[in-house]
């Protein structure tokens, strides 16, 4: 194979990897904050994609312009899910781990069912967008603009997130709460409020990913499942709770997936990622950047 074709694979994998990282980071953030895995994360992504689709349909504006609105809606959803479900799941005295898993699984099925009911199982896509269908030619390596935009947004979001966590009061409260939930109450931090904001932020982050993905990917009620497992793998590979880990793992996952297609048939593209993930986990049971 030519160098050019190889570079094409690397570049595509890298851009997709940045989007995987963007999808996964909200999941990792919530886990890091309160040790809860949201098994409805894929469905959050799906909702954000439908929200983008719906808003484009209603306003005829470009999805890029509408993205902030989608993100705001997802923030509200995240807070609502925390207040309505997670708060109660965390109170369970018996089998707390399983209650969290199945409460969020139940939510995932519920959201999927609602999406099927209201939007039908049809595949939809957003045609005629500002970025859609255009590609950048970098000396024979062709990169679609929606993916470039997605990669850039992902990097910007990660930058913003690092700033938020290290430089703002909210970030400090977030860090303090994940360090010691009991002690923060003593210094006057409302744990419940931080958790709710954390869920809002986590959902908003996957909202960004959904808005970006909606520009170039088909939207249907099962789309969450396609990306959810990759997101869990990314988070576990990077180490649950590690923001930096999610970024690195996302890029690794994108690259490995792209490289796998060079060797294996396309239907097996995920096998490379999954195998690498298991390999890493068996060597480092808490992921690349996970705290034990």
């Amino acid at each position: 194979m030519t160098t050019q074709a190889f570079l094409q694979v690397i570049a595509s994998g890298l851009l997709m990897g940045l989007i995987y990282a963007l999808i996964a980071v909200g999941l990792s953030l919530i886990f890091g904050l309160m040790d809860v895995v949201n098994f409805a994360h894929g469905e959050f992504l799906m909702l954000a994609m439908y929200a983008t689709f719906g808003l484009v349909f209603m306003t005829a504006l470009d999805p890029v312009v509408l993205a902030p609105l989608v993100v705001a809606l997802m923030f509200v959803l995240g807070v609502a899910v925390y207040a309505g479900i997670i708060r109660y799941a965390m109170r369970a005295k018996a089998n707390p781990g399983m209650v969290q898993i199945f409460a969020t699984f139940g939510l995932a099925l519920l959201i999927q069912g609602l999406a099927q009911y209201f939007f039908t199982p049809d595949y939809r896509n957003i045609a005629n967008t500002w970025l859609g269908g255009r590609t950048l030619n970098l000396g024979g390596v062709f990169l679609p603009w929606p993916q470039i935009f997605g990669g850039a947004v992902s990097l910007a979001v990660f930058g913003g997130l690092f700033w938020l966590i290290t430089r703002t009061d909210f970030g400090k409260a977030l860090e303090a709460t994940r360090e010691d939930q009991g002690a923060v109450a003593l210094v006057g931090i409302d744990r419940n409020r931080v958790f709710a904001l954390g869920w809002g932020l986590g959902a908003a982050l996957v909202g960004v990913a959904g808005a970006v993905l909606a520009i170039f990917y088909y939207i249907h009620p099962q789309v969450g499942g396609t990306f959810a497992l990759i997101a869990y793998v990314t988070v576990a590979l990077g180490g649950f709770g590690s923001i930096f880990g999610a970024l690195v793992a996302g890029v690794i996952v994108g690259l490995v997936e792209a490289l796998t297609t060079l060797i294996l048939p396309a239907s097996l593209k995920s096998v490379g990622v999954y195998s690498l993930y298991l390999l890493v986990l068996f060597v480092r049971p808490s992921g690349l950047f996970g705290r034990l």
């Binding site: 895995v37 799941a89 018996a94 099927q116 009620p221 239907s267 097996l268 995920s270 999954y274 986990l281």
Partner: protein, 336 residues
């Protein structure tokens, strides 16, 4: 729990065990009468699936409920059982009975091989690894031409016979097989939970760190739980293949099967003797009925009800539905 068990005399322990056994035999006998009362084929199918998933969930419960290792990848063992049974029968003419046994042994061996590295993983890392492992299995079967790849395997049409486990006209034999499997898994659970393995498993679940100080026995007991659990899951998968007579990767190894095995135990009460059966009795008919009556053309309403129910029960009854009829103090599942 241990204190009260130790405090009570040995005779009362034995008599309570005997009472549990008598109750179980009566329950099994009553269930065995059901085919005499029910002739509707659809209803029989629902009941067969209910018993099958009671058995599968009971198997899952050994590892997930008693040992606390929340596997979300049991579809792998289910699929292995279904494929082993189907391949041996369709390609080599070996009776499904042999296939069930072979599938069970292969699945147990794979569970041991996978358990070796994965039991080092804790909590969510373990659960997600089990999903990923099952997903790899699904992808491999999708691409395995000998096993029919994505097209799957169709069982030939043969006259009704216990030898080939094919019954087209009367569903009762399937019912009795599923009941038998459920009874066996129940008895295995019953026998193990008060043995030293059972105590070790609950120790692992309660406090793995403290249990770890006991050394290698904990790891071995997890391995034993995984192997037994996988064996019966695969037998259930082999039976399912005989029952539906056609399998493909998605119809036996999809993630939803992993959920369908874990959910009844969780809803009914994890780490309890009757939790999985109670959960299956509620969940499987509900899933089948909502799918038949509300799921037409993928409307999604079945998922809304199903998902909503799972959410509500897990939030309001974290100890499982069984805790409603059993005071928590007497419930072993809640105490452990």
């Amino acid at each position: 729990m241990t204190q009260s068990a130790a405090a009570s005399s040995m005779t009362s322990f034995v008599s309570s065990r005997r009472r549990q056994l008598v109750v179980a035999v009566v329950v099994f006998a009553l269930i065995a009468l059901v085919p005499r009362l029910v002739s509707d084929v659809y209803l029989m199918n629902v009941l067969i699936l209910t018993l099958l998933f009671a058995a599968l969930s009971q198997s899952w419960n050994l590892l997930g409920g008693y040992c606390g290792q929340v596997s979300l990848g049991h579809a792998l063992y289910f699929g292995i059982g279904a494929y082993a049974t189907s391949l041996l029968y369709v390609k080599f003419g070996i009776t499904p009975w042999g296939g069930l046994l072979a599938g069970g042994i292969i699945a147990a061996a794979i569970a041991l091989a996978l358990g070796y590295p994965s039991f080092r993983l804790k909590g969510h890392y373990f659960s997600i690894a089990t999903i990923v492992i099952a997903e790899i299995g699904l992808l491999l079967f999708h691409n395995w031409d000998y096993a029919g790849a994505a097209l799957g395997i169709q069982w030939p049409f043969t006259p009704d016979s216990w030898w080939t486990l094919q019954f087209a006209r009367d569903k009762a034999p399937y019912f009795y097989f599923a009941l038998g499997l459920f009874a066996v898994t129940w008895l295995v659970t019953f026998a193990i939970v008060e043995s030293k393995w059972g105590y070790w498993w609950r120790a692992v679940k309660d406090n793995a760190e403290a249990a770890e100080s006991l050394g290698v026995t904990i790891f071995h007991s997890k391995m034993a739980a995984a192997a037994i659990s996988a064996f019966f899951t695969a037998v259930g998968g082999g039976f399912y293949a005989a029952f539906v007579s056609y399998i493909d990767p998605d119809s036996v190894m999809h993630f939803r099967f992993s959920l369908l095995m874990a959910l009844p135990a969780v809803l009914g009460g994890v780490g309890s003797l009757w939790g999985p059966a109670i959960g299956a009795l509620i969940l499987i008919p509900l899933a089948e009925l909502t799918r038949s009556y509300l799921g037409g053309a993928g409307s999604g309403l079945d998922l809304v009800i199903y998902g909503g129910l799972i959410m509500i029960v897990s939030l309001t009854r974290p100890e499982g539905i069984l805790s409603i009829i059993k005071p928590p103090a007497a419930s072993r599942g809640a105490a452990t």
